[in-house]
């Protein structure tokens, strides 16, 4: 693609020299480029700016006026005092650990559970397969918000209220992930497994050794969205958890905001702690995040 574009560019009689060719072959005047980058920078300021402002607030010491005008994005004397301060008021690192536990467990259960179910739906033939598929499809139609009260009652009956297991359980195998995995398995060439069967591999071996390694991409998408979903979730943990020692980060932040709303520096430090791990994860595994949006949206 780029090679042909290059050839086109060379072949075309170059007019002003200050024009660039787009892939479409039309000339794009310089002012359009400038305009485009100006727009991009404006949107960048709008989307990333608020995060930077929060980071900046969290780094400003007690001696610096955070309400000052004109505002300054760069702290005069950057300090980590607020991070120590927020840890003194609420056990923010314990909250982070709770969030991490739930998120990691959510990744494991979703990957394993969805892969197993997806494999059975895509690769096995048995009475009731369609019914099983319908169960997962129907579950996808039920919004969590409309069943959370019943889930809450169920958790009480199971004595799992106010535990991290209770936070984890309802979403630990997502119906959509099952369908994602099913589609991934169904897209694999069938002959390989046929050959494995001929070689005497049983269903479990075919699943583990042949099918599973071929769907690593989808598995990564499931894993990342499971992690993000659990780490960012707010409503369900808010309902299930009441004891501060069990709080996840989002619930802890809400508590911090409700109790120490006036100390913006501390709240800012708390939010940075909550968001930084995910931004790092996103920066490293960008393409899986984008793939997940595409695959999820098609199914939605």
């Amino acid at each position: 693609m780029s090679a042909t574009a290059e050839q086109e560019r060379r072949a075309a009689p170059d007019g002003g020299g200050r024009v660039r060719r787009r892939r479409s072959g039309r000339r794009t005047p310089v002012w359009q480029w400038v305009l485009r980058y100006l727009l991009l920078l404006a949107v960048l300021a709008l989307t990333v700016g608020p995060f930077l402002w929060q980071l900046s607030t969290s780094l400003k010491g007690a001696g610096e006026d955070i309400y000052r005008y004109p505002p300054s994005l760069v702290p005069h004397e950057a300090t980590l005092d607020n991070y120590a301060g927020v840890a003194k008021i609420i056990p923010v690192w314990d909250f982070a650990l709770n969030s991490l536990k739930v998120a990691v467990a959510n990744v494991l259960t979703n990957c394993l559970g969805a892969a197993l179910a997806g494999y059975a739906l895509a690769r096995m033939r048995f009475r009731g397969r369609k019914a099983a598929l319908v169960v997962f499809l129907m579950a996808m139609l039920v919004p969590v918000e409309s069943i959370m009260i019943a889930q809450f009652v169920t958790m009480r009956e199971l004595q799992l209220n106010n535990t991290l297991i209770g936070v984890l359980l309802p979403a630990c195998i997502g119906a959509m992930n099952v369908l994602l995995m099913r589609n991934a398995f169904a897209a694999l060439p069938y002959e390989v497994e046929e050959a494995a069967f001929v070689d005497g591999a049983n269903a479990w071996q075919r699943f583990l050794r042949i099918a599973l390694p071929s769907v690593k991409g989808t598995l990564a998408v499931v894993a990342i969205f499971a992690f993000m979903g659990a780490w960012d979730d707010f409503l369900w943990p808010l309902i299930v958890l009441s004891d501060q020692s069990k709080f996840t980060l989002t619930i802890g932040l809400n508590f911090l905001h409700g109790t120490f709303a006036n100390n913006q520096r501390l709240v800012a430090a708390g939010t940075v702690i909550a968001v930084l791990p995910l931004i790092v994860l996103f920066a490293c595994l960008q393409r899986f995040f984008f793939r997940g949006v595409g695959e999820g949206a098609v199914k939605g």
């Binding site: 009260i149 009652v153 119906a175 269903a203 809400n254 949006v293 199914k299």
Partner: protein, 330 residues
């Protein structure tokens, strides 16, 4: 879903669809020849294997999605509380709901939220996708940066904007400096609701941008070129080429965002407080469900009736959007 179901392996028995469960072919009659060339699932396994594979998933999905749904419907006809199993009370909860001013406030706010958020989330991400499509230097950085709000928790996003929109926050400081005066973004009930909508839009932009980006990649470039040759300007090309080409994606985005907007909870909860601002003026329907149904003395029965309303309207919104799409097709 479309790509998914297209791949459902079909046996000769259920080709017509429509019928109930397909007739399982007996072990003695392998329809191998008939299904040649189709992707067919491996049938060589123990009869119990598929159910062992499916067990964890079915257990969780059945136990924590479908069963709660059924029990929500059942509970909505009882006066159950968190600690007390209820008695059947017929439609009393639904009758109470009609006379409950808070229900109407919640319903109004949730529906307003849909009206305010959905048009913006259908249009703005499309423009954003047009801005970041193609290969120009640094564009992957911009794409990733625009997606950051999606990655952050709604709690983080809410608190960031609470601080920005605070009476003494950055935005009011700027407004005051340019002589506009302070705006009570978080104190006036109406402004608060609109501020929350703005935050929802801000957080959703990147997500729908990526969906549109995938759709735009499928628009044949020749269409644009032909149009340009005919002398159509950028705006004209947008309306005659881009919009028709991504129309089905717009419907998808409208469906997803309207369902999300109707179920709004966190943004308003964080910005207006747990009770939805002074007098509960900003309470949304899901906030009401949470207020009524949780806690040790939660009115599970009444909250279940509210939940059923949430479910019905969510489903209705989805059908409405999909139907609008079908009509345009005809």
């Amino acid at each position: 879903m479309t790509t998914g179901t297209a791949r459902v392996p079909r046996t000769p028995g259920n080709k017509g669809g429509g019928g109930p469960a397909p007739v399982p072919p007996g072990p003695g009659a392998p329809p191998q020849a008939a299904a040649r060339g189709r992707i067919r699932p491996v049938r060589r396994h123990l009869p119990a294997s598929p159910w062992l594979f499916l067990a964890p998933g079915l257990l969780i999905v059945g136990g924590f999605s479908l069963y709660p749904f059924l029990s929500t419907v059942v509970n909505s006809f009882t006066d159950a509380r968190t600690l007390i199993a209820g008695q059947y009370v017929g439609g009393a909860n639904y009758q109470e709901l009609i006379h409950d001013a808070m229900f109407w406030t919640g319903l109004r706010n949730s529906l307003l939220y849909v009206l305010g958020v959905v048009p913006l989330l259908v249009i703005l991400p499309l423009l954003l996708a047009l801005l970041v499509q193609g290969r120009i230097p640094g564009i992957t950085f911009f794409r990733a940066a625009f997606y950051t709000p999606v990655v952050a928790s709604v709690v983080v996003v809410g608190l960031i904007w609470v601080w920005l929109l605070d009476d003494r926050g950055l935005i009011n400081a700027v407004l005051e400096a340019v002589g506009f005066g302070k705006v009570g973004f978080l104190s006036d009930p109406w402004l608060l609701l609109f501020s929350a909508m703005a935050v929802t839009v801000w957080k959703g932009l990147g997500y729908y941008m990526i969906i549109y980006l995938a759709a735009l990649a499928n628009v044949p470039r020749e269409l644009h070129e032909a149009c340009a040759v005919d002398g159509a300007g950028a705006l004209r090309r947008f309306w005659t080429v881009t919009v028709p080409a991504v129309r089905s994606t717009m419907v998808l985005v409208a469906a997803l965002s309207s369902v999300g907007a109707f179920k709004v909870f966190s943004e308003v909860y964080l910005m207006a407080g747990p009770t939805g601002g002074p007098g509960g003026e900003d309470t949304t329907l899901v906030m009401l469900v949470q207020q009524v149904g949780t806690g040790l003395n939660g009115r599970v029965g009444y909250a279940s009736a509210l939940s059923v309303v949430v479910f019905v309207i969510t489903l209705g919104l989805m059908l409405l959007v999909l139907r609008a799409n079908r009509k345009e097709d005809a």
